[in-house]
Amino acid sequence: MKTYLIDDLQILQLHLSHYFQFNQVIKNSDGQPNWQQLLPNEIKPLIDEKPQTSAKGFFFAEQENLLIFNGEFFQETLPTPKAFVLFGMQSCDLTAIHYQDQFFKDDPYYQARRQQCLLVGLDCITPCKNGFCPTVNAGPGVRDNYADLILHPLGDQQWLVIEQSDKGVQAIKGLRLKEARSNALTKREVNLTHCEQLFPDDSYITQGIKKINAGNIPNTFWQKVAIQCLGCSGCTTLCPTCSCYGTRTLKQDNNHFSQQRFWDSCLYEGFQREASFNNPSVDAGSRVHRFWQHKFGDAYFTDFSRYGCVGCGRCEETCPGVIGVHSVMKRIEQENLDA
């Protein structure tokens, strides 16, 4: 695996857009960054802003058909996407995809899309609003092998391109690039370390994780916090590692039926309710607790070798009830729960 220097990122963008459906984060007319598919003649300069919607929907679709029943048989409806590139994905979201890759390892629909994707990572060199990726080992630099290629901005329009996988190597084959000297990678380390130091103090998050796992947060705490959960599903929708889904059946024109899956949220009261009305998580406190358990519980750490939270801070930004990650962790800190 090699590392290259590139002076004009557009050359790489155009090259990739030739072989892949090209997707990149751009801003819409409101200044809102979001992933968009761009044709070669539409390609815009790379921006390092966190899109409000993460890239998880590229693989785990927000709504998708699983099968069609034709009256006699159930037929699988696997997606058949063309090869595509997600160009310039930040480390938090790449870490989340790495997490989802494990979770959906054996899911044919997820994998049908995932196999077709080239991930080009982007190192962050300044902290983003509400982000705390260093605290949960998810950034600001792209982790090894989480992308096929990594881009690192050296300033003055200069970029490092770091090969991370065979897929990445193949993708830039044919481009004549200048190989970088070893000190370029040292420069990267310096930049990333500097960036990490710019993040505000978030020791309350580290402390909160400890308290959650020590089991000394009483149910009454979660019940109190849960009064503020308006059940909007914003956190689970935007969280890049949330993966719950529901299913439903839709009638087709010809009396066939299709079965669909769609993003669900464990914060909904009906999420676990059974047909008998028995509901193991009828208490809103237990649902809110569950959500944070999924993001910071040691049990998940054992399963995935990391926490479920990648430190993007999207839940904080979108929660109308003010119980996103920073708010909850600060509250845990203030509650003086050790007593």
Partner: protein, 319 residues
């Protein structure tokens, strides 16, 4: 890769068991060549059966697909035989079952499975004395297990009759069933219980007072008859299997540990809402485990470990 696609099954027939419950018989349909061509089936759909229907263990479940409405999990009361026929006991509860109750023999549905971890395998085949405690329709997941036991007993008797020997086996291994229900109307699986009646000891309990209850029925919960049931064993049971409302299972399991049963020899089968049955959709979570995959059967020890981290047991629905 996981397979989310059901096999087609045919509704063969059904028998009512009370007003809101039925014993259904289904048959798994083979895919034939004509259909493969007609519908241009994917290679994965061309197998005779897509699932391991021949390897169903007691306590495992399948996802029944009612094509116009969707899927729900059910347990087998009889595992698929060589012809692909199997049985399930189904109560009319939600939308899927309500639609099922309108369907007729010959109608086509779907099934995926078997899924999950059933009752511990080695138990009924070894010389364990087994206590089974079931509440309401919680008896359904235990049917194949008890049937297996009873069938073996009958077979052993036949052998001992043939060989003119006193059955030593029978003496050695006992199975006692405590069956609790809210009232007489809630006592289900009548044909099964009738079938077992002369082979195993059954204690019945009813929560509500009934005028004309039979001599074998006690008013109260399964806990009420627990001492009596335990006393019935010639040597104390070494394994207990529970299925019913979670709150009932918890109290029985707690009580059994007080009687000296180790918490890794008490097993509970849990009920949860499920959509995928393969550990993805998330609906059946308990802590970091999914009941569809790690369960539905858990040892009391495992269950306590899971619940301790995520317990919020106080709620209205357990009233």
């Amino acid at each position: 890769m996981l397979n989310h696609i059901p096999d087609s099954i045919e509704l063969v027939d059904y028998v009512d068991d009370g007003e809101q419950a039925r014993h259904y018989r289904f048959r798994i349909l083979p895919s034939n060549k004509g259909n493969i061509e007609k519908y241009q089936l994917q290679p994965s759909q061309q197998h005779h059966w897509q699932y391991n229907w021949g390897k169903v263990q007691p306590g495992q479940f399948f996802m029944l697909n009612v094509p116009s409405l969707g899927e729900a999990p059910f347990t087998f009361t009889e595992a698929p035989n060589k012809q692909g026929e199997f049985r399930a006991f189904i109560r009319k509860m939600g939308q899927v079952t309500s639609q099922l109750f309108t369907m007729q023999p010959g109608d086509i549905l779907g099934a995926r499975g078997p899924f999950g971890r059933g009752w511990p395998l080695n138990t009924t085949s070894s010389n364990n004395n087994t206590l089974v405690v079931a509440g309401g329709c919680g008896l359904a997941p235990l049917v194949t297990l008890i049937d297996n036991f009873v069938n073996r007993l009958i077979a052993q008797r036949a052998i001992s009759v043939q060989t003119n020997q006193e059955s030593i086996q029978e003496e050695k291994q006992q199975l006692v069933l405590i069956y609790g229900a809210r009232n007489k109307g809630a006592q289900l699986l009548t044909p099964e219980r009738a079938r077992w009646h002369e082979h195993i000891k059954i204690f019945n309990t009813l929560d509500e007072y009934e005028e004309n209850k039979s001599a074998t029925t006690v008013q109260g919960s399964p806990l009420t008859v627990l001492p009596k049931a335990l006393g019935f064993f010639t040597s104390p049971p070494t394994i207990a299997m529970l299925c019913g409302p979670e709150i009932m299972m918890k109290s029985v399991a707690t009580s059994l540990t007080e009687y000296g049963l180790a918490s890794n020899t008490i097993f509970l089968a849990l009920e949860r809402r499920m959509h995928c049955a393969v550990g993805l959709c998330g609906h059946c979570y308990i802590n970091n485990q999914y009941v569809c995959k790690s369960g539905p059967t858990f040892s009391w020890q495992e269950y306590q470990e899971l619940i301790n981290i995520s317990d919020f047991s106080t709620n209205f629905s357990s009233n």
